[in-house]
C-alpha cells in the first residue's frame, strides 16, 4: 500500500510513490501528530489541576477574603439573623468571590472543561496510534509475503541443488515424453505440419521473451529475489537467509571475478576533455536527462564518458551537475571502457568499482568545493553509481550532495542519508530497475515515479513500451523526465526544492566538461 499522487497532467501512466507524500513519510507525520495530541492532553490536565488549585486556594485560609470563605453558611446565617453586619466593600468582595467560585466550578463540571477535553485528546491520540500501527503493518505486507516466499523457495533449492536437478530431470523427461504427442495433436487441430509448428515457435521465441520482460517486470523482481537466494545458498553448509539476496549473490560473483586475473580490477585513468562547452543553464529534469542521453556513444558521445557541469550563479555561488550514463559494454572487466558488466556486478555487490572511481576522480579534477551543492543524475548503471556515491560516507563528507536522480536503475537496496533527496524514475515495461529483487523503498526522502509507457499519449513511448531495450533506453527516459516536469505533488516538489539548490533560477553560466575513464591494459 502506498499513498502517492497517481495521475500526471496529460499522462495517465504516471504514478508517484514515496517521498514527502508517501506512506512512510505520512506515518512519521502521524507519529508526530500523536505526540502533539498527547502533549496537548498533558497541558489540559495541567490546566485542570491549576483551576482546582485556584478553587481550593480561594476557599482556603490566607486567600483574599479567605476569612469570609471559611464558613459561607455560617456567614449567611449570621447576616440573616442580624448578628453579622458587612460593609459595602465586604459585600462586594463576597459577591466577587462567589462569581470566581462559580466560574471555577463551571470549569470543573463542564463537558468542555480541561479535564474532559484532556481525556478526549488522550482517546484521540490512542486511536491514532492504533491506526498508524495498522498502516505500518499493512504497508507492503502482501508484497513482502510473496517476496519472502520466493526467497524461501530459492533458499531451499540452493541448499539442495541435487534435489532440484532430479526434479528438473523428471519434469524435463515428462515434457520430452509428452511433447511429441502434444505436437501431433496441435498439428491435427491447427491443420499444420509438426515441422511448421516447431519453426513458428522458434520464430516467436524472441517475441515471447520480450513480452515476458516488458509485461512481467514486477514479477521478475520477485523471482530474482528467489534466484538470488538460491545462488547465495549454493555454497556448502547451511547458509544464512540473505535479506537482500541479489546484492548477496552479486558479492559472490564479484568475489569470483576477483579470482581471475582477466577480470580483476585494473588501474583507471580519467582523462578530461580539452574543450569546454557553455550550454544554456539546465532548468529541470527534462533538460538534465536530454544531456545525459547525449553522452552515449550511439548519440555521438565518447565511450566511458561522464558529464560534469559547473553552474556559476549571478549571486556568486557555484554548484555542479554530474551526468552518468549506463552500461556500454557487456564485458566483465577486460575491456578499456569502465562502464561494463563487471562494474555492474561490483556496484550491485557494493564493492569498489570503476564507475564510482571515475566520478570521484572527475570531481577532483574539476575542482568541486566541499560546500558547493551537487546534483547526481544517472541512467541505468549511472543511477547505481550516483546512488552508491550518495550512500558512501567518505564521499558525502567530502562533497555536498543535494539531490540524486536515477533513470531506470536497480537501486532499491541502496540507502542514502535522509538529508539527500532522491528521485527514482522507472518504466513499468523496463526490467532493469527490477534486477535488484526489491522495489524502491518508500522513504520520506525517496520518491519513485513509475510510468506505464503503453498508455502514454505519445506514440513513441507506446512503441518503446513494446520492447525491453527501448523501454530502458536513455532517450525514452528523457521523454519521461519531460513528462514528470509537468507533474505536481508534495513528493516531487520536495525533490525539486533540493534540485533548485543546484539548478538555481535558470540564469547560471554553465561550463560543461566531459571526463573519460580508460582502463589500463
Amino acid at each position: 500500500m502506498s499513498a502517492g499522487d497517481p495521475g500526471g497532467a496529460g499522462d495517465p501512466g504516471i504514478a508517484v510513490y514515496g517521498g514527502r507524500g508517501g506512506t512512510r513519510a505520512n506515518l512519521e507525520d502521524l507519529a508526530r501528530a500523536t505526540r502533539a495530541l498527547c502533549a496537548a492532553a498533558h497541558e489540559l490536565d495541567a490546566a485542570a489541576t491549576s483551576c482546582s488549585s485556584a478553587g481550593w486556594r480561594l476557599t482556603g485560609p490566607g486567600s483574599p477574603g479567605g476569612s469570609l470563605a471559611r464558613d459561607d453558611a455560617c456567614l449567611m446565617t449570621g447576616i440573616h439573623d442580624g448578628l453579622v453586619t458587612l460593609s459595602e466593600g465586604e459585600l462586594e468582595v463576597a459577591r466577587a468571590r462567589a462569581r470566581a467560585l462559580a466560574a471555577l466550578a463551571e470549569v470543573r463540571r463542564s463537558p468542555t472543561g480541561p479535564a474532559v477535553a484532556a481525556a478526549h485528546l488522550t482517546g484521540l491520540a490512542s486511536a491514532l496510534l492504533s491506526t498508524t500501527r495498522i498502516y505500518a503493518e499493512a504497508d507492503g505486507a502482501a508484497r513482502l509475503l510473496v517476496s519472502r516466499l520466493s526467497r524461501a523457495v530459492g533458499g531451499v533449492a540452493g541448499e539442495h541443488p541435487l534435489g532440484l536437478l532430479v526434479a528438473g530431470a523428471i519434469v524435463g523427461r515428462l515434457a520430452i515424453a509428452v511433447a511429441p504427442a502434444a505436437l501431433l495433436g496441435a498439428s491435427v487441430v491447427l491443420r499444420r505440419t509438426p515441422g511448421d509448428l516447431v519453426a513458428a515457435t522458434r520464430a516467436r521465441a524472441a517475441q515471447l521473451a520480450n513480452d515476458a520482460l516488458t509485461e512481467d517486470a514486477a514479477r521478475i523482481e520477485i523471482i530474482l529475489a528467489g534466484v538470488g537466494s538460491g545462488l547465495v545458498s549454493l555454497p556448502p553448509g547451511v547458509q544464512p537467509v540473505a535479506a537482500e539476496p541479489v546484492p548477496a549473490a552479486a558479492r559472490l560473483a564479484s568475489g569470483a571475478l576477483d579470482l581471475d586475473p582477466h577480470w580483476r580490477r585494473r588501474a583507471l585513468t580519467v582523462i578530461p576533455a580539452v574543450e569546454s562547452q557553455h550550454p544554456p543553464a539546465p532548468r529541470d529534469l527534462g533538460d538534465l536527462a536530454r544531456r545525459l542521453s547525449a553522452l552515449y556513444p550511439d548519440a555521438g558521445g565518447r565511450p566511458g564518458t561522464i558529464g560534469v557541469e559547473r553552474l556559476d550563479h549571478p549571486d556568486g555561488t557555484r554548484s555542479w551537475v554530474v551526468e552518468i550514463p549506463g552500461t556500454q559494454e557487456l564485458g566483465l572487466g577486460f575491456g578499456e571502457n569502465p562502464l561494463d558488466m563487471g562494474t555492474n556486478v561490483r556496484l550491485m555487490a557494493a564493492r569498489p568499482n570503476d564507475g564510482t572511481e571515475l566520478v570521484t576522480e572527475a570531481l577532483r579534477q574539476a575542482g568541486v568545493g566541499a560546500n558547493e551543492p551537487i546534483l547526481l543524475l544517472g541512467h541505468s548503471q549511472g543511477g547505481m553509481v550516483a546512488m552508491s556515491l550518495a550512500a558512501t560516507a567518505a564521499f558525502t563528507s567530502r562533497y555536498r550532495v543535494a539531490a540524486v536522480a536515477t533513470l531506470g536503475a536497480p537501486v532499491g537496496t541502496v540507502s542514502v542519508p535522509r538529508s539527500i533527496q532522491v528521485l527514482n524514475v522507472e518504466h513499468v515495461q523496463d526490467v532493469i530497475p527490477a534486477l535488484d529483487g526489491v522495489p524502491s523503498p518508500d522513504e520520506p526522502n525517496r520518491t519513485t515515479v513509475r510510468r506505464d509507457l503503453r498508455i502514454s499519449p505519445d506514440p513513441r513511448d507506446r512503441f518503446a513500451g513494446r520492447t525491453a531495450g527501448a523501454a530502458h533506453g536513455a532517450g525514452t527516459y528523457a521523454r519521461s523526465a519531460e513528462v514528470i516536469d509537468g507533474v505536481d505533488g508534495p513528493s516531487l516538489d520536495a525533490w525539486r526544492d533540493a534540485a533548485s539548490q543546484v539548478l538555481g533560477d535558470g540564469r547560471a553560466t554553465v561550463t560543461a566538461r566531459e571526463f573519460t575513464g580508460v582502463r589500463g591494459r
Binding site: A3, R20, G21, A25, N26, D29, L30, R32, A33, T34, A36, L37, A39, A40, A41, E43, L44, A46, A47, A48, S50, C51, S53, A54, R57, L58, S63, P64, G65, S67, L68, V84, T85, L86, S87, G89, E90, E92, V93, A96, R97, R99, A100, A102, A103, L104, E106, V107, S110, T112, P114, A117, H120, L121, L124, A127, L128, T131, Y135, P490
Partner: protein
C-alpha cells in the same frame, strides 16, 4: 502560588494545548482514515476553544475578586 497565578497558568496551559492541536492537524496523509482523523482533530480543536473560554472566564473572575479584595482591605467581622 496566588490564586490568580494558578488560573493564569491554566490559561497558558490551554493556549499551549491549542498550539499543539494546530500542529497535530498539519498532516499531509491522504486517505479516508486521514480525513476522519482531521475531522476528529478539528472537533477536538472546537472543544478546546470552548475550554479556553471557560478557563479565561474563571481567570477573569478570580482576578476581579483579587482586585476587589485588595481594595476592600481585611474584613471587619
Amino acid at each position: 502560588m496566588r490564586v490568580e497565578r494558578a488560573t493564569a497558568a491554566a490559561c497558558e496551559d490551554v493556549a499551549r494545548a491549542l498550539r499543539l492541536l494546530r500542529q497535530a492537524a498539519e498532516v499531509e496523509w491522504v486517505s479516508d482514515a486521514a480525513d476522519r482523523y482531521r475531522a476528529a482533530v478539528h472537533e477536538a480543536f472546537g472543544i478546546v476553544l470552548r475550554t479556553q473560554v471557560l478557563v479565561e472566564a474563571a481567570d477573569l473572575a478570580v482576578r476581579e475578586h483579587s482586585a476587589v479584595a485588595a481594595r476592600a482591605g481585611p474584613p471587619t467581622w
